[in-house]
């Protein structure tokens, strides 16, 4: 990938990935000690996918996510404190404690929604893209789903219609090779995921989802394709989650369902997208170790402050349980 980035741009990508990682890792302790009870699906290891979109995204572009969407929200410019509070299911959360970790919804920044029904938000993304097309807006709608989502029929219905109407939608498949506990070889024939898009005649790419330079490049291509009215685009990001399907580890939280081989996990740890960018920048003398440490420190204190605020926030009141059924 022969795109050159300025130092400032690279450090910004780095900062966002570190912010996501630090935020995700900060949930481990409160989950294990029971302060956070709602199911939390950590994005650790997959940061380069969401952050790959950041450089070319506009505020008016929209995201729809899934159960593992904290990273998407952060990239979309979401409010970290509101998200952390929501994961504690507190009143100050972005959904007032009604949604929890799996429903990160904040229309003000274009995070139009996230939901854990696998592939359930893909068709919703289609609707946002339809609106853009109708109004001749140059905006893009991105649907995030995993390899598990490729088992759902609604994905195929949605690609078909998007292709038919040339909608500005990016089908963004984060292939982490596991559909909860089940390896991809047990859920799909041995055939590349990105070729799903080709069956409908749309531009389809496969990319190393742990290489931020490559994800950024493919996202640039996909976004500009959609802005030119030549969408939709399908992207398969090959990536890996460093934590359990839900929570820090599926093997210490009541079940023994993480059957991923140690060697496989170790192999992917070496491909950690944050470490890779660090190595790249240091090797090419783009920045110094000290600058990276400073970024991490700043991020750490930002995350720490969000937790402190969330922990002293109140839980929603029981007598308000019937609020918000209808507007």
């Amino acid at each position: 990938m022969k795109i050159s980035y300025k130092k400032k741009e690279l450090l910004n990508l780095y900062k966002q990935m570190v912010l996501i990682r630090r935020t995700e890792e900060s949930f481990v302790e409160p989950i294990l000690n029971g302060r956070i009870k709602c199911p939390v699906h950590l994005y650790s290891g997959e940061e380069a996918v969401a952050v790959g979109f950041s450089a070319y995204l506009k505020k008016e572009d929209v995201f729809f996510g899934n159960h593992r969407s904290h990273g998407h929200y952060i990239v979309k410019g979401g409010n970290l404190e509101a998200m952390v509070a929501e994961i504690y299911c507190k009143e100050d959360g972005c959904a007032g404690g009604r949604g929890g970790s799996m429903h990160i919804i904040d229309k003000s920044v274009g995070m139009l929604g996230a939901a854990p029904i696998v592939a359930g938000t893909i068709s919703l993304t289609l609707g946002a893209a339809l609106g853009f097309k109708y109004e001749k807006k140059k905006n893009v709608a991105v649907a995030f789903f995993g390899d598990g989502g490729t088992g759902e029929g609604v994905l195929f219905e949605s690609i078909n219609f998007a292709a038919l109407r040339k909608l500005p939608i990016i089908f963004s498949c984060e292939n982490n090779y596991y559909s909860t506990h089940l390896p991809i070889r047990e859920t799909r024939p041995n055939y590349p995921v990105y070729k799903i898009g080709r069956a409908f005649g749309i531009k389809s790419f496969q990319v190393d989802g742990n290489d931020i330079l490559k994800t950024t490049a493919v996202c640039e291509k996909a976004i500009s394709t959609c802005r030119k009215g030549e969408g939709p685009v399908f992207i398969e990001f090959k990536t890996y989650r460093l934590r359990g399907h839900v929570g820090p580890s599926d093997n210490i939280q009541g079940t023994q369902t993480d059957i991923r081989p140690i060697q496989e996990i170790e192999k992917w740890k070496k491909k950690d997208p944050i470490k890779r960018l660090e190595r790249y920048m240091l090797k090419n003398r783009i920045c110094e170790q000290k600058e990276l440490l400073n970024i991490s420190k700043k991020v750490e204190s930002q995350v720490f402050a969000a937790h402190q605020k969330a922990q002293i926030s109140n839980f929603p009141k029981g007598e308000e349980v019937e609020y918000y059924v209808f507007r």
Partner: protein, 332 residues
């Protein structure tokens, strides 16, 4: 048009007029679904819409109910209030995820921040030997779900007014109409007006019994009431119009007055709206002069053969006889 003769319109054209006027009023509104270009699917409810508003706003979709319904929801969230039509509501079952998991929960899940102004329009196609997958009335299923409103107009006036209300409502509304009512004519004002969601209509005042009807059963009851009067039964007739929110006040007020009640639903009996209404009456503690009576479809899939259909569906005779029986009167 002369002032002394109000304009009459068919039920289906009343819906058509509502769609024309709403889409004209607000250019963000989109209409989508299978067959919007084909009267074979949607009768004449969508006449002239594609021609007037174009294929970017009036979208005849592939047979992909799940994605197309989700698309309507996503568009509504993004600022384009959408109407998605299912010309046979049986096919809405493909779209239970977007309707129930997504749209109905969205406002709650977002802590009251993002509502979904979408209309799920489903058409009941009872009868015509269409059998079990082209004839179902599924309003009871939808009414069970928190976050969904459910309306079922029986007259052309209400068809237009409730479609307008459904489109204007910031929440997901399931609008259920009935193909058998499409050619019925009635007075329909030419201007934009709305019929409030959650408000039943008292079609006739009476003192002996409360008849609670909805959709097609309201149409049948209207034909039965003159015969009841001839037989000395002065019934109060309620047309629910909205299943959810249910107008409990109007129901209880009437039942308190008459002391007798028959609930006539167009759906199945068990766990349906006749059960819910019975429960609300029972919970109210009103003293009844005779037990609550329910008339609804048997707990059986819709058959094909006309002889079986005749046994399965309600008709004027069955309604008339059931009511006479409550008063221990002959019905010959």
């Amino acid at each position: 048009m002369s002032l002394d003769k109000p304009r009459e319109l068919e039920y289906s054209l009343a819906i058509n007029e509502a769609l024309h006027q709403m889409m004209n009023e607000n250019r963000s509104i989109l209409l989508m679904g299978q067959g919007v270009k084909s009267p074979w699917y949607v009768g004449n409810t969508c006449n002239g819409l594609v021609e007037k508003f174009g294929e970017k706003r009036v979208i005849d979709t592939p047979v992909s109910e799940n994605a197309m319904t989700g698309m309507a929801i996503g568009a509504s969230i993004a600022g384009y209030p959408s109407i998605v039509v299912h010309p046979r509501m049986d096919f809405m079952l493909y779209a239970f995820d977007p309707i129930i998991n997504q749209a109905a929960n969205w406002f709650y899940m977002s802590g009251g921040k993002v509502s979904v102004p979408v209309v799920f329009w489903g058409i009941i196609n009872r009868g015509g030997e269409q059998a079990a997958q082209h004839s179902q009335a599924l309003h009871g299923l939808f009414a069970h779900i928190p976050g969904l409103k459910v309306v079922m107009p029986s007259t052309p006036y209400d068809a237009k007014g409730l479609m307008i209300s459904a489109v204007l409502d910031p929440n997901p509304v399931v609008f259920i109409d009935e193909r058998l009512l499409y050619s019925n004519k009635g007075v329909v004002p030419t201007e934009l007006y709305s019929v409030p969601i959650g408000k039943a209509a008292v079609r006739k005042k009476g003192k002996d019994i409360t008849i609670i009807s909805v959709s097609y059963s309201a149409f049948l009851v209207e034909k039965v009431t003159p015969k009841l009067i001839e037989n000395g039964i002065d019934a109060e007739v309620i047309d629910l119009r909205s299943i959810k929110p249910l107008d409990t006040n109007t129901i209880l007020k009437s039942v308190k007055k008459t002391g007798r009640v028959i609930i006539i639903d167009v759906g199945w009996k068990s766990f349906g709206i006749s059960a819910e209404i019975s429960a609300r009456i029972a919970e109210s503690g009103i003293n009844l002069k005779s037990p609550i009576k329910r008339l609804a479809l048997p707990d059986t899939p819709a058959p094909a053969s006309r002889t079986l259909e005749a046994a399965y569906y309600l008709n004027e005779k069955k309604i008339y006889e059931s009511i006479c029986k409550i008063f221990k009167k002959g019905s010959s």
